[in-house]
Symmetry: C2
Subunit: 231 residues, 2 copies
């Protein structure tokens, strides 16, 4: 019998925010896949999940380098899916651990595309923005308001987004911090934002004032609330 | 010593999607608050969480009727917060159970506003849209795409939203199903949507074709993907 492929969201920092369902799978699973952007750099997802894993679990590190050419990317995804499929063919159950939620900006989606022939179960996880809102006791979205989630890039049209949305989550801001700071200042929204890095981890940082923030870690998310915060 | 106030997201259907952290709190908590839209109608959040609750737990049902006047709503919220504060003043820990995530369109946010003087801990939960995406193995948002979350009302400008966003989650669609169906048809997006009701529950429904869908339950969410689905 072929193995089953699991995609498991482990949340973004606090291990106990993982779902009860994920814990039960991790306690029994034989193989875990850990995506890495750079070979040998280690895995944040593993650090979060490790307390729930059984002693015999074997780690499969797969490299997903951050490159630009789509064709090359697709080739890497296919190769990595093939490596996973070899374990599944031998009847092993394999769990792909993913930071946050497996269906929200995750590498897991890219390999899943090539593994649909197997039995698959995806276990949702807590996103960075849900984690931050609860951590700070700030509603993300209320009543008739709307919410936009943006992965910031050089093409992000900040002015249009601020205009069209009541609440915005800006992800992957580290490379575009200066631009986002100047847009916020220009529109006078300095009191309408909070920036959180490494939510729920030991090195968590929270900034309601971006004035003195010069650079931020990779895992940084900025939340904008047009209606402001309630205190 | 005063009690601690917890806001706990229980997810939308499958009890095991609740976080490990929430389970540990529910096993020990003395009082749970269960919001009801209509007195005596029961609580979906309780049905999801009940297997984790201890035998001695006491239920506090609080009515939050769906009315239009904001002033009256605020009065009700304040009264309900006052009832909770009376338990907290006596040193009882109280957990407010909320469907989905406590910071995403939840009644919890409205009472929290009046209970900030107490020690508060909010535990994030899996939203309907994260649940659906994982359940169906469909990526919600990838790469440089964006995602918009909308609670549908009579004021929703569908055309503008379809134009401005790569992926959209339409929540609370039951009252506006006809309108949304005709907008989807008009823009030729029939192949770009999936509608899921009661995700993860026994009465779950999944529709990729809205043609014959005449009405849907209250807990229904529609996901739009401009790029389509991958199979």
């Amino acid at each position: 019998m072929k193995g089953k492929f699991f995609g498991i969201g482990v949340g973004v920092g606090d291990p106990d925010l993982i779902s009860y369902k994920a814990v039960k799978i991790l306690e029994k699973i034989d193989y875990i896949v850990l995506p890495e952007a750079v070979k040998g750099e280690g895995s944040v997802a593993f650090e979060i999940a490790k307390k729930f894993l059984n002693e015999k679990v074997q780690k499969i590190f797969l490299e997903f380098p951050m490159i630009k050419e789509l064709e090359k990317k697709i080739e890497i995804r296919k190769n990595n899916a093939k490596i996973i499929s070899e374990y599944l063919e031998k009847g092993n159950n394999v769990a792909f651990l993913t930071i946050g939620d497996p269906m929200t900006y995750s590498t897991y989606s890219y390999v899943l595309e090539y593994l649909k022939a197997y039995e698959v179960e995806t276990i949702a996880g807590i996103t960075s923005f849900s984690c931050i809102a609860s951590r700070l006791n700030i509603p993300l979205v209320l009543g008739n308001e709307d919410l936009k989630i943006i992965s910031v890039s050089k093409d992000t049209d900040f002015q249009k987004e601020f205009e069209n949305n009541d609440n915005i989550v800006f992800m992957k801001i580290s490379r575009n911090l200066d631009k986002i700071k100047s847009e916020i200042k220009k529109l006078n929204y300095e009191k309408n934002i909070v920036l959180v890095s490494n939510c729920g981890k030991e090195n968590e940082e929270i900034h309601y004032d971006l004035g003195k923030v010069e650079e931020v870690p990779y895992f940084s998310t900025l939340i904008f609330k047009k209606g402001g915060f309630y205190e």
